[in-house]
């Protein structure tokens, strides 16, 4: 009766790629069908850029070689969009799926955990890249902000950022106890760090706030995304120092995520 018994265990392995594609398709479907989540992630970053561009974009930043503010905002919101998709949205998604038992059921299905992890990562990357593309296009055609000069450096920044902030998203999901607090906790952490990192109001160099924000990855990511645009003379497109600090945070997050990750809902 059962045809499954004739399929050997070994034959499942080459199907990993097909399985990943299958799962990515449904991860994407779930993301875009959840309108509130999709709007919060994608539309927010675009709206922020458009509104700030229209209001404050023409001002100049005195301590950054009189850089036009909009040229600071485009890379800044590219960074915001990636962090929002990889950190906030991924963390909330994982907590909700864990607490409702969805992760547990996936764990008990024959879908290998490695396939699920890769599929979630690929799906998060797609959401991130959609935002990056939208923001770059709006910047270019709405506000005449040039594309990055060094695309290779830009791609590296995206890669390091997406991997590291995804790891941080998974890590923070392990300390959030329930789905009710997932949104508030991640949003507060995220917006406080964004504010302190000067996403809306650029930090003057060597200020106390900058020294404080230097310990966290957000300011470094904003700087690293800025670099390949080459708006500031004398600044290398390869922000190695910033990338290293982001990657260090990523490594710590991976360690926390691997050690603390739970498939089952937390029991009372």
């Amino acid at each position: 009766m059962s045809a499954s018994t004739t399929t050997s265990r070994r034959s499942l392995v080459p199907h990993d790629v097909r399985l990943i594609a299958h799962q990515v398709r449904y991860e994407q479907l779930a993301f875009w069908l959840n309108r509130v989540g999709a709007i919060f992630t994608v539309v927010f970053s675009v709206l922020f850029l458009v509104m700030l561009g229209a209001s404050a974009g023409q001002a100049h930043i005195s301590f950054l070689h009189h850089l036009k503010l909009i040229k600071y905002y485009v890379p800044g919101f590219v960074a915001y969009g990636i962090m929002s998709a990889c950190f906030t949205t991924l963390a909330i998604n994982l907590v909700v799926r864990r607490e409702t038992g969805q992760l547990k059921r996936l764990r008990l299905s024959p879908l290998p955990s490695r396939v699920l992890v890769v599929a979630i990562f690929v799906s998060t990357t797609i959401v991130s890249l959609v935002q990056v593309a939208l923001l770059l296009l709006i910047g270019r055609f709405g506000y005449a902000v040039n594309f990055p000069v060094s695309w290779l450096a830009f791609a590296l920044v995206l890669l390091v950022g997406i991997v590291s902030f995804s790891a941080m998203g998974v890590a923070i999901s392990t300390v959030i106890p329930n789905q009710e607090t997932a949104g508030p906790v991640t949003s507060i952490v995220f917006f406080v760090l964004l504010f302190l990192a000067g996403l809306w109001f650029p930090l003057s160099p060597h200020s106390g706030l900058e020294k404080f924000s230097n310990y966290f990855p957000v300011l470094h990511f904003i700087k690293a995304v800025n670099a390949p645009f080459e708006f500031q003379p004398g600044v290398s497109p390869w922000a190695w120092h910033d990338l290293l600090i982001i990657a260090l945070w990523g490594v710590v997050a991976v360690i926390v995520a691997v050690r603390k990750f739970k498939w089952a809902p937390r029991r009372s």
């Binding site: 038992g101 059921r105 764990r107 299905s109 024959p110």
Partner: protein, 308 residues
């Protein structure tokens, strides 16, 4: 070969024995129930069998393999179906989308339409999961449990929180699956559910099996004490009863006995002889609920655990 074989299973959390020396076997094709109050160890047992939790000690075989071995888990997960206590539904998908997604995990899934038909969700196939009632969501959940054509299905309290109508349809579905040859391990704290579905049952209390067997003979309820009830005519009997009543309230009489055939013979013989019109004659055995409550009753001053 048994579908499930459990011997001397133990598992403790923070020094509390969640499962304490449990043994039972489930035959292939059988519906077997774990019955017990909340916290008795039912879910822990099931999660060990699913390979989700590690055991501390004891032998466990599920479909002939040890679910605790990592290298067996992939093989096993393609052959078991799992329905969790939680309604793990993904609200933004339609019924069909969720089923199609999960079908992709299995080597030879059941056709989607067959599953939809089987769980009775044909009219709701393209409805969003969040629009379904609790009973419909539970049936979808069971649909996800059977989409991979499992040889063995785990159902952890499948009808908790459902209204009586939804419970009935869930029972019918479990009957259908069982008739198709699927082995079912069910956990429940409802006596009527176990009586309706299970061929055999193990009663758990504080991590131990306190009774096991077919529901009809559990705790010796097919033998042993019965209660005979009847009502005497209003004027009172012309002669004294041949058997001393255990309880008597006005004209209502109750007699507890281990020997109902003899007692009934005496009562009816006496009634015929003395032309007493006895009404409402009734013989009741202990209900499964009586047995269950007696088995799982927590005594307040109990210093040690009752032995199995």
């Amino acid at each position: 070969m048994s579908a499930i074989s459990v011997t001397n299973l133990r598992k403790s959390y923070k020094k509390i024995d969640a499962v304490d020396d449990v043994s039972f076997d489930v035959e292939r094709g059988e519906v077997f129930a774990l019955l017990g109050p909340n916290g008795a160890g039912k879910t822990t047992c099931i999660e060990i069998l699913e390979g989700f939790l590690r055991r501390d000690s004891g032998q466990v075989q599920v479909l002939g393999v040890d679910p605790g071995l990592r290298q067996q888990q992939q093989w096993l997960r393609a052959r078991i179906g799992v329905v969790l206590q939680e309604l793990a539904v993904e609200s933004f998908f339609t019924v069909r989308q969720v089923l199609e997604r999960n079908a992709g995990f299995y080597p030879a899934p059941r056709p989607i339409d067959e599953v939809i038909e089987l769980v009775g969700l044909r009219e709701k196939a393209d409805a969003k999961v969040k629009k379904l009632s609790g009973g419909q969501q539970r049936r979808l959940d069971i649909g996800l449990g059977i989409i991979g054509r499992p040889e063995l299905l785990f159902l952890d309290e499948p009808t908790t929180g459902l209204d009586p109508g939804a419970r009935r349809t869930t029972w019918e579905l479990i009957h259908t699956l069982s008739a198709e040859g699927t082995t079912v391990l069910l956990s429940s704290h409802y006596m009527d559910e176990v009586e309706a579905l299970a061929k055999r049952v193990a009663v758990l209390r504080r991590g131990r099996v306190v009774a096991a067997g077919p529901p009809a003979s559990l705790g010796g309820r097919d033998r042993g004490q019965v209660t005979i009830r009847f009502t005497l005519p209003a004027g009172g009997p012309s002669s004294d009863l041949p058997v001393a009543p255990t309880r008597r309230e006005g004209t209502s009489v109750e007699i507890d006995t281990n020997d109902e055939v003899v007692v009934l013979n005496e009562i009816t013989g006496w009634a015929l002889e003395h032309k007493v019109i006895v009404t409402g004659l009734d013989v009741t055995r202990k209900t499964l609920e009586d047995v269950y409550l007696a088995l799982t009753h927590e005594e307040i001053d109990e210093p040690t655990r009752a032995n199995a």
